[in-house]
């Protein structure tokens, strides 16, 4: 875990309202694994840091993908190149890559951990299928990638007419990210899938117990420490708030 004073290095649009921000954060770029996140804070700004999956990591740079959904994301997207943020990470446990092929299933902003998952899967010699869904064609993240890419839209304006979960083929290893209701659906179909879960977070480092993920076996785990990646079937989805923004546009 590193605490990096990271300047914004770039910004590009990848879907309607969806942007990728780059930061110079060498220590994090060198050590991050797919599914891990960074916790970003800045002054003047809101009190708490904001958690974001690492989207890409190359050389000394990391990227995150986001939409403006509240004060924090609005301020981040209004930052000019060179503006400095405090970047804490990499945090949490990422995906575990096992087997010969993987299906990535992402809804809306759930693309966030997937480019790194592609990287890590390829490094492990796996074949990658990426199923990416969103509300309409305009909301699909243009950067989905893999040996095979399947598109899905709620309105049928591009690719499969329906959700990414329904559009996806079966596989031994499924990694999913998106709104909690989508992950709940994924859990029904693939209890063994690895899913990246979102929760409100206080610290991101395991000390506040704010990021409780309810488990079927009873009790709670910390999304920031034991998660954010869980075995889909282990999570008690009905007890997890379903309205979080990460999901916007899915």
């Amino acid at each position: 875990m590193f605490l990096v004073d990271a300047p914004v290095t770039g910004r590009r649009q990848v879907a309607r309202g969806m942007f990728v921000l780059g930061f110079h954060a060498p220590e994090i770029a060198n050590s991050v694994r797919a599914g891990q996140f960074v916790n970003i804070g800045w002054t003047p700004g809101p009190l708490l840091r904001r958690p974001f999956s690492v989207y890409r990591a190359e050389d000394s740079h990391i990227e995150v993908v986001l939409k403006a959904v509240g004060v924090g994301t609005e301020q981040l997207l209004a930052m000019q190149i060179g503006h400095r943020v405090s970047c804490l990470g990499p945090l949490g446990r990422g995906f575990e890559m096992t087997g010969s092929g993987v299906v990535l299933v992402s809804g809306g902003l759930g693309v966030a951990p997937m480019p790194l998952a592609v990287r890590d899967a390829r490094a492990a010699g796996m074949e990658v299928t990426w199923v990416h869904g969103a509300r309409t064609a305009a909301d699909l993240c243009a950067e989905a990638d893999g040996d095979r890419v399947i598109w899905a839209t709620d309105d049928g304006s591009q690719g499969f007419h329906g959700t990414a979960v329904v559009a996806a083929p079966d596989a031994d290893l499924v990694l999913a990210c998106g709104p909690n209701p989508m992950l709940a659906a994924a859990a029904e179909r693939w209890p063994h899938a690895q899913v990246a879960v979102e929760t409100y977070m206080g610290c991101g480092t395991g000390v506040c117990l704010g990021c409780a993920v309810p488990l079927h076996r009873g009790g709670y785990d910390r999304a920031c420490t034991e998660g954010p990646v869980y075995r889909a079937g282990d999570v008690d989805w009905s007890a997890l708030p379903s309205h979080l923004h990460y999901a916007v546009g899915a």
Partner: protein, 304 residues
């Protein structure tokens, strides 16, 4: 010459004035980035005799300059504390106090008795903001007799330092402060979180599953400085200031207002190095003003 920052809180000698507040530093084993030389002590996450699951999510909500939390005192219970954490604490060069909780005075007493003598447990911080089941769901913390009863119950079962952490949700904090001083507390910690609520405008219900939560962070600092000051004016035992401390200047306000030491809570979430920066900043302030030790810092504590 580096100024001497050590302080005495009752019989406990601390190497500095900055401790980690309960519930914001886990069991002291989690936060990796802090330089521990600056850490004068840790108060563990609040514990009950038995394990507790805590409340369903959402457990936290950000507010202007602060946050609400309703963790529900999730914890593994005292036996796991003793088996898994205390042995680590025993090896550290700063004390760990255990934040103890119960639903009756007797439960607090039993918890203290169970922990008394366990290597690694340096003392107790009694959290009296817990629901008082004996008296029908009021808080021990806003009834001087109940607060004193809990303090006595713990005092009788241990020779270790007993600190009592006061709630701000009272009409007059001085009354509670004097009551627990009379019951044998070695020090007071002021303050715990304020009760607050936040409403979600899509569901028209509270954002927190527990409905209300405790407000912490910079937003409450001016209130906490005042309450810690009022507590310090009311008693002769040391008072440890808590509430919204993020920078050395904030801690110095509490120290000048009559506190012997401080605890840093929420700021740790925002800045894992907060405790270190507060500690070093206090040293820098003393040095800049030519004070050789923290004891030289002027205090504003009219006893009228």
């Amino acid at each position: 010459m580096k100024p001497d920052l050590s302080v005495e809180v009752g019989s406990l000698r601390l190497r500095g004035p900055v401790l980690a507040a309960s519930g914001t530093f886990g069991y002291g084993t989690e936060v990796p980035l802090l330089e521990r030389r600056a850490l004068a002590g840790v108060v563990s996450k609040g514990i009950f005799l038995r394990p507790r699951e805590g409340t369903p999510p959402p457990r936290i909500v950000e507010t202007p300059g602060g946050m609400l939390n309703a963790i529900g005192l999730q914890g593994p219970g005292v036996e796991v504390l003793i088996s898994d954490y205390a042995p680590k604490w025993a090896a550290w060069d700063f004390p760990v106090l255990v934040n103890i909780n119960g639903e009756s005075a007797n439960e607090y007493g039993e918890l203290a008795a169970r922990l008394d003598g366990v290597p690694g447990v340096a003392g107790f911080e009694i959290n009296i903001s817990c629901p008082n089941v004996e008296q029908g769901g009021l808080y021990f913390g806003n009834d001087p007799r109940a607060a004193a009863a809990v303090t006595e119950a713990v005092r009788r079962r241990t020779k270790l330092p007993v600190w009592v952490k006061l709630t701000p949700m009272v009409g007059d904090i001085g009354v509670i402060a004097r009551a627990v001083e009379g019951a044998g507390a070695d020090a007071l910690c002021a303050i715990n979180t304020f009760v607050g609520m936040s409403i979600d405008l899509s569901s028209y219900r509270p954002r927190l599953s527990f409905r209300t939560g405790g407000l912490s962070g910079p937003a409450i600092r001016p209130l906490a400085v005042h309450l810690a000051h009022q507590a310090a004016r009311a008693v002769r035992i040391p008072v440890i200031g808590i509430g919204g401390i993020a920078r050395a200047e904030d801690a110095l306000e509490f120290l000048v207002a009559g506190c012997a030491a401080v605890q840093v809570g929420t700021a740790t979430f925002v800045n894992p190095k907060a405790i270190e920066e507060v500690h070093d900043g206090i040293a820098a302030h003393l040095q800049a003003k030519g004070f050789g030790s923290l004891a030289d810092l002027p205090r504003y504590l009219p006893r009228d």
